[in-house]
């Protein structure tokens, strides 16, 4: 293989390494990957850079690959460790670089409003999920482990509230409690007979942003629904209850107060919003 082709191939690897290292130091990496994968991004990026730089610098050398060569074969390139490739290095460079380039120029580092709408529109039963890391749930443990708002509302996140539905022990503890939570707000697309309901949701990620799912919860107002922008972040407090429909238990919050808030710090699903 020609020296130039070797160098072009090394540039492809260099590019991959640069992308990994760029994202490793980027404040929004947690919008792409769960934290447990971050270290692999660093290791992969460093390995790619070392591999690529070393290969660029040694592209002109004819190496010894260490196995037997017949006298007719001369150096390693005659039988060639560059075997097996039927990819033109310049074509390879384009195929790898183009989607990278477009993605870098298009990304907002967050999930678009349209996708959030699509994800949060679906009714989800808490019975479809299970979580192993929830602590034992009694009123005493709740009192000990949970902070309260100045007006006495238990400050719980929407995931904790959502996953109580369908668990009779947890429902007993939470039903009728005054709680406060923070989430995004949208219209209630499904179970809204009197038109006085809206929906809270937050997105959760298992491995990477591509597998994001929405965890929703219905909120009900005594009068009209408030005039708060679609997909705004809100802090809501109210009385927890549960609604049973077609064998599915849905958590519901009867709203006492609601206010619009800025995007919570470190929220992975929100990008830099171009």
């Amino acid at each position: 293989m020609k020296i130039l082709e070797r160098r072009v191939m090394s540039v492809v690897v260099l590019m991959i390494g640069a992308l990994l290292l760029y994202f490793y130091q980027h404040e929004k990496l947690n919008g792409y990957l769960k934290e447990k994968f971050h270290i692999y991004v660093l290791i992969g990026g460093l390995a790619a850079m070392v591999m690529a730089v070393f290969s660029i610098l040694t592209a002109g050398l004819e190496g010894d690959c260490g196995h037997d060569h017949g006298d007719d074969e001369g150096d390693c390139d005659a039988h060639d460790h560059d075997h097996g490739s039927d990819m033109n290095p310049f074509v390879a460079l384009m195929i790898v670089a183009l989607p990278m380039f477009f993605s870098l120029s298009w990304t907002t580092h967050g999930i678009s409003a349209a996708r959030q709408d699509a994800l949060s529109e679906k009714d989800v039963s808490s019975a479809d999920f299970t979580f192993n890391d929830l602590p034992p749930f009694t009123l005493e443990t709740l009192e000990k482990s949970t902070s309260k708002a100045p007006d006495g509302a238990f400050m719980l996140n929407i995931f904790e509230l959502f996953f109580t539905a369908g668990d009779t022990v947890q429902e007993k503890v939470i039903n009728g409690l005054y709680v406060e939570t923070e989430a995004k707000l949208r219209n209630e697309p499904n179970r809204n007979p009197d038109g006085n309901r809206m929906r809270l949701f937050r997105l959760m990620m298992t491995c990477c942003a591509a597998d994001a799912q929405a965890v929703p919860m219905t909120i009900e107002f005594e009068g009209e629904t408030p005039d708060i922008g679609h997909n705004s972040w809100v802090r809501v407090a109210g009385i927890m209850s549960y609604e049973r429909q077609d064998g599915v238990v849905y958590p519901m919050l009867k709203v006492k107060r609601i206010e619009e808030i800025p995007v919570p710090e470190g929220e992975w699903s929100e990008g830099l919003m171009k």
Partner: protein
């Protein structure tokens, strides 16, 4: 690209980058390993390591992931090199399919993810089914000639390596024969006649190892990029249509098929897919198995990565075969209640 994506460019970008960032480190690891295998691993090592009996060889290769644990992205470049080093195709494919499941990292993550849901049953089911499918694929491959399986470039490499091995072997035998005569004649010159052609220039070997790794990385990265592009696009489509899709998943067959499609489209890493499967409590164990066994063996990006190894026609049948086999096994698995009870009782777990 804008034409295909409409106003979903930002979501495509997020999907593409997140899947790329997740998979690329493992591909780099795999290609680095493959580069060093290429240069440092003598071809004869394979002959010595793998049992002579074909079936025993396949069975043992299915467990190689316990020693050389790699996920599905990293395993493809590794097996390309192992095949060119003389590992039989049946063994290589068994390792390729089994290693992402039968490895300590995946076993641990499955154990951890299902810690309150029949974890013994789930771990044993996943490892057992993954191993079984991989071994069965290996046994079937014994009957298929390499020309129908491997792509031309890899086949050429394999043939060239085989020719060299055969030539080296015959030369060695001829030399041994000649020396034998020489020594019989009592004309031994008193020194070792075996010349080591391994001119051990460590630095040069490292150059070749890195060069080989870079080339593998580029070969695989091209297919990986295309696969991730398609996965990112499918993912956008799936999210927009999931409501209409889920209404059809009303039987165990449809649910299993649906979970397999999900595994195929989402292309979640085998080291973490158990966490995703574990959260889906409304889904049956068979469907979860389908998700966790098919995903590490076949998904959109793997379909492209496999093209660095297999012929397109073979890959088509291979993919269909895997889909049907895993689907049938998963549905059957769901009905194995007595065995499930027995294993959980033995483990003292909850059922």
């Amino acid at each position: 690209m804008t034409f295909f994506l409409g106003n979903h460019q930002a979501d495509f970008a997020l999907n593409f980058l997140s899947l790329f960032l997740e998979g690329a480190p493992y591909i780099l690891l795999g290609t680095l390993i493959s580069g060093f295998i290429d240069v440092y691993m003598p071809a004869s090592l394979m002959d010595r390591m793998i049992p002579k009996n074909k079936f025993m060889a396949i069975l043992s290769c299915g467990l190689m992931g316990l020693i050389l644990p790699v996920c599905e992205c990293a395993v493809v470049p590794v097996i390309r090199r192992l095949v060119s080093k003389g590992l039989p195709i049946s063994c290589a494919f068994t390792y390729m399919l089994a290693a992402p499941i039968v490895n300590p990292v995946t076993i641990w993550s499955t154990w951890h993810a299902f810690s309150d849901q029949d974890q013994w049953w789930v771990v044993l089911s996943r490892v057992g089914m993954g191993y079984g499918v991989a071994v069965l694929a290996g046994i079937i491959l014994l009957a298929i000639p390499a020309e129908k399986v491997l792509r031309d470039s890899l086949l050429r490499t394999l043939r060239s390596a085989n020719d060299k091995r055969a030539k080296a072997k015959s030369e060695a035998e001829a030399k041994e024969h000649a020396e034998h005569h020489l020594h019989d004649d009592g004309e031994c010159c008193g020194h070792d006649h075996s010349h080591d052609h391994d001119h051990d220039e460590g630095g040069s070997k490292v150059v070749m190892a890195f060069r080989s790794g870079v080339q593998d990385c580029v070969d695989v990265a091209v297919y990986f990029s295309i696969g991730v592009c398609l996965t990112a696009m499918f993912n956008i489509w799936y999210v927009l249509n999931q409501e209409s899709m889920t209404q059809y998943l009303d039987s165990v067959w449809m649910e299993t098929g649906g979970m397999m499609v999900l595994a195929f489209v989402l292309s979640v890493c085998s080291t973490s897919d158990a966490f995703m499967a574990a959260t889906l409590r409304g889904v049956g164990i068979g469907s979860k198995m389908a998700f966790m066994v098919l995903g590490p063996m076949l998904d959109v990006k793997l379909l492209f990565l496999y093209q660095t190894v297999m012929r397109k026609k073979f890959l088509f049948y291979f993919a269909i075969g895997l889909f049907i086999l895993i689907g049938l096994l998963s549905v059957a698995w769901q009905e194995f209640e007595p065995l499930r009870e027995m294993i959980n009782n033995m483990a003292g777990g909850k059922s």
